[in-house]
C-alpha cells in the first residue's frame, strides 16, 4: 500500500507544517504585549501609525484587541490584557480602585461632535450647549442613533443625556435606536436614515463621504473626550508583562509617543491631541 503510506505521510507533514504556519506567518515573538483598546481608536488608524514607530524603537510587538470600552476593561479584569487604553475616565478610575489597574495616566484627548442630517429637523445647529441640543432632539423625537455597546462613546452619550435631565433609559419610542455596534456602523446607519448621532471626531474624519451628515454641535466642554492608559496589576495576575507594558506606557506618555500621536492625520486633519502630564522620575 505504498500509495496509502505516502498519502498518510504527506498528510502528517502537512499537519505539522500547518500547525506551525499560523505562527510562521504571524511572526510570534516573546517581546509582545496585549493592549485592550476601543474600536474607535483602532478604526481611526492611530495604532497603525504609532505602533510601528514603537516597535522600531523598542522591538516590542503590541497586539491590540479592539473592543468597546466596557468590554476592554472586562478583558483586562479577566487578565487577558497587559495594558488598557480607553476613553471613559469614571470607568477607568473604578478599574484602578478595584485593584485591577496600577495607575491611570492621561495620554491624549479628542472631542465628540453631534452629527445630524443637513436638514436638521430639531434645529440644533450651532448650539453652544450639547445638553440643549439633546433636549431639543428629545422634544422633537427626532431620530437618534446610539452605539448601545458600553463603548466610551456610548457611556459619554449616556452621561450627556443624564446631564440634560433626560431619562434616556426609559425611552421606548422608536426615535432612539440602540444598535449595539461600532462607530463605523453607527455612522453608516445615521447617514442612511438621516438621524442624529454622537460621534468622536476621528471616526467622522475617516468617513469617505461627508455630504450625508453635518457637524451640528461642537466645542462644548462637555464634549471633551479624554483617553487614559493603565497598566494591569501584576498582583492580580502574575503573568502580566509588567516591564514591557510599562515601557509602552512610558513611551506613550513620553515625548516620542506624544509627538507621534500629534503627528497622526486623517485627510490632513489632526484627530488626537496629546495631553499626558510630564512625569518626574
Amino acid at each position: 500500500m505504498f500509495r496509502a503510506r505516502s498519502l498518510i505521510a504527506s498528510l502528517v507533514l502537512a499537519g505539522a507544517i500547518g500547525s506551525a504556519w499560523p505562527d510562521i506567518i504571524a511572526q510570534t515573538d516573546d517581546r509582545t504585549i496585549v493592549v485592550a483598546s476601543t474600536t474607535s481608536t483602532q478604526d481611526s488608524g492611530l495604532f497603525g501609525y504609532i505602533l510601528p514607530i514603537f516597535r522600531a524603537r523598542t522591538g516590542i510587538d503590541v497586539r491590540v484587541v479592539a473592543q468597546g470600552t466596557g468590554q476592554a476593561l472586562d478583558t483586562a479584569r479577566r487578565g487577558d490584557a497587559d495594558v488598557v487604553l480607553v476613553h471613559a475616565k469614571a470607568e477607568e478610575l473604578r478599574f484602578v480602585a478595584e485593584g485591577f489597574g496600577v495607575e491611570r495616566f492621561d495620554v491624549m484627548y479628542n472631542d465628540f461632535i453631534l452629527l445630524g442630517p443637513p436638514s436638521d429637523p430639531a434645529h440644533v445647529a450651532g448650539s453652544s450647549r450639547i445638553t440643549e441640543a439633546l433636549q431639543a432632539i428629545d422634544r422633537m423625537k427626532a431620530p437618534f442613533i446610539s452605539r448601545g455597546d458600553r463603548s466610551g462613546t456610548h457611556l459619554a452619550e449616556l452621561h450627556l443625556w443624564a446631564k440634560a435631565g433626560i431619562d434616556i433609559g426609559a425611552v421606548r419610542e422608536p426615535w432612539y435606536r440602540q444598535i449595539g455596534q461600532g462607530m463605523g456602523a453607527a455612522l453608516a446607519m445615521a447617514e442612511a436614515v438621516g438621524a442624529y448621532l454622537l460621534s468622536d471626531r476621528g471616526s467622522f474624519a475617516a468617513r469617505p463621504n461627508h455630504a450625508a451628515l453635518s457637524v451640528l454641535v461642537e466645542g462644548d466642554d462637555e464634549l471633551f473626550n479624554q483617553y487614559g492608559i493603565i497598566l494591569v496589576n501584576r498582583a492580580k495576575y502574575p503573568h502580566v508583562k509588567t516591564e514591557l507594558g510599562q515601557r509602552f506606557i512610558d513611551w506613550m506618555t513620553g515625548p516620542e509617543g506624544q509627538n507621534a500621536i500629534a503627528a497622526y492625520r486623517i485627510r490632513g486633519q489632526q484627530v488626537f491631541f496629546p495631553n499626558a502630564k510630564p512625569v518626574t522620575r
Binding site: M1, A4, L7, L11, A14, G15, G18, S19, W21, P22, D23, I25, A26, Q27, T28, V34, T39, Q42, D43, F47, G48, R63, V64, V65, A66, R78, G79, D80, Q181, G182, M183, G184, A185, L187, A188, A206, R207, P208, Y237, H239
Partner: protein, 239 residues
C-alpha cells in the same frame, strides 16, 4: 470592489498576510478535525452499543453548532481567569485553530459515519469472510472511501473558512496577528467600508470555489476505482 482588486494586484503585503493566515488556520483546523472525526465517524458506523443512536443524533446536531457559541465557550476556557488560562492561548492563531477544529470535527464525523456505513453495507460479506479484524476494517473502509471522505473534509474546510464568530472572539482580530479574511470583512463592514468588504468577500469565495473545483476533479478521477470503465458500461447495464 476596485479597492480590493488594487490591493491584490499591488501585492499588498497586509492582504496576503490575511489570506495566508485564513487559509492556514482553516486548513490546519480541518486536518486536526479529520484526525478526530475520521476514526470517530468510522467507529460510530461500525460499532453497536446501547446509546449509539443517541450519539449519532448528537453528532449530527453538533454539525449546526453556532460558531459564536464555540467562540464564547472557548474564550471562557482559554481566558487567563479560566481553567486553561496558563496555556496563554487566548488571542492567538492557535486558539482560532482550536475553535475551528471544534466546529469542523462533528461535520467530518457525521459525514464519515454515513459514508463508512454505506460502504460497510457493500463490503460486509467480503470483510467478514476474510476475518478482517476491527482495526483493519476501519482502515480498509476509510481508505476505500478516500474520495468521498475528501469531499467531507472539504465541506469541513468550507465551514471553517466561512465562519467569523468563533475566530473573532478567541482571536481578537489583532492586526498582523489574528486578522483573517472573515474578521476583516466583518470589521470593514462595521466601519462602513462596504466596497472593500465586498471585494474581500469575492476573494474568499473565489478561493473556496477553486478548492472545490480541485475536489470535484479529484472525485472524478477517483471514479476509476469505483465504477466500471465507460467502454464497459453498456455491457454492465445490458446484463
Amino acid at each position: 470592489m476596485t479597492e480590493a482588486l488594487t490591493l491584490i494586484l499591488a501585492g499588498d503585503r497586509t492582504l496576503y498576510q490575511i489570506v495566508a493566515l485564513s487559509l492556514a488556520v482553516s486548513a490546519t483546523a480541518s486536518l486536526m478535525a479529520a484526525l478526530v472525526g475520521l476514526p470517530a465517524g468510522a467507529w460510530l458506523a461500525l460499532s453497536d452499543f446501547p446509546g449509539r443512536s443517541f450519539l449519532i443524533i448528537l453528532v449530527n446536531a453538533l454539525m449546526g453548532l453556532p460558531p459564536v457559541i464555540v467562540g464564547l465557550t472557548l474564550y471562557l476556557l482559554l481566558s487567563r481567569s479560566g481553567p486553561l488560562g496558563p496555556l496563554g492561548l487566548l488571542f492567538t492563531p492557535k486558539a482560532m485553530v482550536l475553535a475551528q477544529t471544534v466546529l469542523v470535527a462533528p461535520i467530518i464525523a457525521a459525514l464519515t459515519r454515513q459514508i463508512v456505513h454505506d460502504l460497510w453495507h457493500e463490503y460486509r460479506d467480503e470483510l467478514t469472510a476474510m476475518a478482517v479484524g476491527p482495526v483493519r476494517r476501519v482502515t480498509a473502509l476509510l481508505w476505500d472511501a478516500r474520495f468521498s471522505l475528501i469531499t467531507a473534509l472539504l465541506a469541513g474546510f468550507g465551514r471553517a473558512s466561512a465562519e467569523v464568530g468563533a475566530v473573532m472572539i478567541v482571536g481578537g482580530n489583532i492586526e498582523g496577528f489574528t486578522r483573517t479574511m472573515t474578521t476583516t470583512i466583518s470589521m470593514e463592514t462595521s466601519k462602513g467600508n462596504v466596497p472593500l468588504a465586498l471585494g474581500l468577500g469575492v476573494m474568499l469565495m473565489s478561493i473556496v470555489v477553486l478548492i472545490n473545483a480541485i475536489a470535484w476533479g479529484l472525485g472524478r478521477w477517483g471514479t476509476r476505482f469505483s465504477e466500471p470503465g465507460r467502454d464497459l458500461l453498456p455491457l454492465v447495464y445490458s446484463r
